[in-house]
Symmetry: C2
Subunit: 380 residues, 2 copies
Amino acid sequence: MYTVIKTDGRAKRAELKTVHGTIQTPVFMNVGTAAAIKGAVSTADLKEIGTQVELSNTYHLHVRPGDRLIREMGGLHKFMVWDRPILTDSGGFQVFSLAGMRKIKEEGVTFRSHVDGHSIFMGPEESMQIQSNLGSTIAMAFDECAPAKAEKSYVEASVARTTRWLVRCRQEMDRLNAMPDTVNPSQMLFGINQGAVYTDIRIEHAKQLAEMELDGYAVGGLAVGETHEEMYHVLDETVPYLPQDRPTYLMGVGTPANILEAVDRGIDFFDCVYPSRNGRHGHVYTRYGKMNLLNAKYEKDERPIEDNCKCPACRYSRAYIRHLLKAKEMLGMRLCVLHNLYFYNHLMEDIRGAIETGTYAAFKKERLEMLQVYKKQEYS
Amino acid sequence: MYTVIKTDGRAKRAELKTVHGTIQTPVFMNVGTAAAIKGAVSTADLKEIGTQVELSNTYHLHVRPGDRLIREMGGLHKFMVWDRPILTDSGGFQVFSLAGMRKIKEEGVTFRSHVDGHSIFMGPEESMQIQSNLGSTIAMAFDECAPAKAEKSYVEASVARTTRWLVRCRQEMDRLNAMPDTVNPSQMLFGINQGAVYTDIRIEHAKQLAEMELDGYAVGGLAVGETHEEMYHVLDETVPYLPQDRPTYLMGVGTPANILEAVDRGIDFFDCVYPSRNGRHGHVYTRYGKMNLLNAKYEKDERPIEDNCKCPACRYSRAYIRHLLKAKEMLGMRLCVLHNLYFYNHLMEDIRGAIETGTYAAFKKERLEMLQVYKKQEYS
């Protein structure tokens, strides 16, 4: 059950009730690819840093440890010891970006495992079966994520196939949810809008998706090579055709600025590997922009990453965390990842507050300016 | 101020009052080589797993980030955000085991940094100065740790030099503690008994050390290649000559069985890299012995590492932690290290309880037998 509590321009403050608890949106989902957040972050840590939704990757878990094993263990929630919502992607993105030697047919895709090279077939039914075995709160439809710069004719054919695949996903998910021994009989299904940067294809696809009355709608295939302006333009043109009484999820996005802009265009679900990936490289987020803690200027900096931050890293100094990173101590990465996820989770909290008070436009402007402070200092 | 609360045979239940709080002994110190416990464990975690004393390595911190930097940051306690006792080793062990191309003279040792190869000189005064800059609770004397199988004539000369070095350590530490701007003016100094497996040299050295009225006495140069029986024999012969009204520290030891035996021979301070190093390889300790979580038999094992364990890892299943280790997720290593340190810290708690109730002999026998259970199962 999705309820819009407040709108402010096109920004939505909403909540999605699920069997694993209610999600307050806009929300940033924290990516735990292989049933763990990279950087030695556990589900116990996620509770401490304000994570609402954990996101795991269907492809990775299918390959290792195997979705059947996770099902035997009682599903992904029990396996990870996480009682809040989990979203699983469809595996499509990884199949088209990570796996080698793929072959696309109407039935699905044959590709090679990145772990041991063995041949795997995945189509809409297989993706739903794997996600059903995982028992996630929200499953994503199996789609093709065409390259941003693909030829229009290719994108048209690809989107048409993705629509046909969605029908099969829906049927299979309905069948699986009705099985007596299914892990999560209330598993939701989100469809995915594609079309690269061709807004006419995107709009036509959005209209088709809207007719299917799904649990939620994602915009996929962005943040894969196009400019930020192209991305915002696609959102401007496409999101109005997606049902605004359902969750709207921008997949794989993005920077704090991207999120501030996309919320203003009606998006309320996000996920991105930036906070964890950047954290592992010592790049940390603050409201004044990103800092590279490996920079020599932090060598004797006794301040925390961010003043007044209540994350588990900000009880330590920049100097200490920098030392850990230089000494290649895993703790350095862990602290940076914890800080970054906390930062993203609390950015969303601030965004929700601004929409609630009807001040989102001013809030966005202020935050976008603040995010430039360190950059301006560095080049001034 | 060291107070023996209870003895049971030669086992001592004592406490050592320090400026950073009181240490209850027997105690296992948790090794954080470069001002961090390997395996992404922070000082906040240490409080959760019952750590009393953190141990850091003088050599590593001198090389990176530099003891002068740590002094500028207010000392190691402030740098790591740890308000309980810290023991620093002297750097001697690392100089003789890690560093390349060393040259020993009466003044001290010249060697090459393992980080960038630059030439470093360290003698008794330098070791004290570095440890004073770190401001640890307990500093260790600078000694030579001769190889277990060294010729007797070499060991004799080495121990004689270590004694001369100890006199210089004591003088230098007294001088540094009296400086107006010293980090920790109450820094304690422990001397180190050496002599390889030659008990006559060990005993003679112990008698010389006892005359110096130090804050504590360590037995060094064990667990470096000799058998367990040789080690116990050295303890049987040597410890009685060390003042039993002072802390007695067996450096770098060891397995749970080693600790159970050494406590029975009057030792009350321990440290070892086993729990963290083994944890990083998926080897975890239980009261029934060690388990290798990478073993296929744990693939679907829904039990925690150890039943009723309250450590942060034992809310997860063996199957989940095994998956993390197989997927090379840092979280797997972190959970195993947390469990192992918790296990060691709580083994010491049980040891203290047994001495208090005067049942140490029976307790030791029972625990040594329990530690064999998994091994017997595996080979039965």
